[in-house]
Amino acid sequence: MTPLKERLVQLEVLRYNPDTDTEAHFQRYEVVCQEEWVVLDALNKVKADIDPTLNFRWSCHMAVCGSCGMMINGEPKLSCHAFLRSYEGVIRVEPLAHFPIERDLVTAPDDFMEKLKRVKPYIIPKEKKPISEGEYKQTPAQLMKFRQYSMCINCMLCYAACPEYGLTPDFIGPAALTLAHRYNLDSRDGGRLARQEVVATHEGVWDCTFVGACSEVCPAHVDPASALQQMKITSSIDWIVEHLIPGGKS
């Protein structure tokens, strides 16, 4: 077997310790890495060999858990999915944009978690039936309607990419709204009107200006932008029924 190629990687990592720092600053690390590694491997090597005080979140190392999202050269990426061979020179690593920094590369996701709850991201059955009547069945075609929108791993890269969320923190945002859409499209679900109370507000889909950056950075190919545009159409039809058709209720 041929030996793996090595490379001296220069990382510029944003550091912030809330106990001692008044503001965040960059720290430069030089670390020998294998050419095939990802940025997360380089960070782990730094933590193991150079600086054990460096903080960052990660878990699965295979783009499934969604916990290692960071800004890499200014772009929101999963650091386990960002190959070193894609970068030249100094690689700048910062915590996810638009979220408060807790420590170093660790951000506080509280705002996203709270918004996720508000869109009721769970099945609200059309009619409840006792367990004795068996499961709620679904055809493959019914599954395919929402499957893509169910692939979200809550990595929050779309929030870091969305200029609208950066400018208007009240915006419910791509991932949470997309999850609302996922349940709205589920044949077993009857909760769309309840979700509309959040979705059809200004802070809901109407704060989205269809920049599309969310879909570009999504590592799970969920395409949140398309979900939001589809919800704008249904919300508009609701509005017409509610306001222009006599006796119409959404």
Partner: protein
């Protein structure tokens, strides 16, 4: 939270976006062809003038123009918003009024044909 009334401006924007996607590239190509002296006989001045003279023709041309203008105004409003210009009411008023004035002007010109 109250539901938003944005569909009032968004629906014509979406319709205009569709119209722009289908019609404007064709119009641009035909304009360039005409400028280079290649006018297909179906699009000769006389034929187009007759088309714009008919009631249906006026309606179609007005629909394409008005929806495209509205869509462009709304898109520009969103662009201002994305760039952080938060005087949204002022921006929206100026752009929508411009679109409406241009639409009325095109209606008047069409009616004179």
């Amino acid at each position: 939270m109250a539901k938003s009334h944005k569909p009032v401006v968004w629906f014509p924007f979406a319709a205009g976006g569709t119209v722009i996607a289908f019609c404007i590239p064709v119009i641009v190509v035909l304009t360039f062809l005409a400028a280079l002296g290649h006018v297909p006989s179906g699009l000769s001045y006389e034929r187009m003038h007759a088309f714009a003279g008919s009631g249906l023709g006026k309606l179609i041309i007005f629909g394409v123009l008005a929806l495209s203008l509205w869509s462009s105004a709304h898109r520009l409003r969103c662009t201002f918003y994305d760039f952080g210009v938060r005087a949204d009411t002022l921006v929206a008023t100026v752009l929508y009024v411009a679109a409406i004035v241009a639409s009325i002007a095109s209606a008047l010109f069409l009616l004179r044909i």
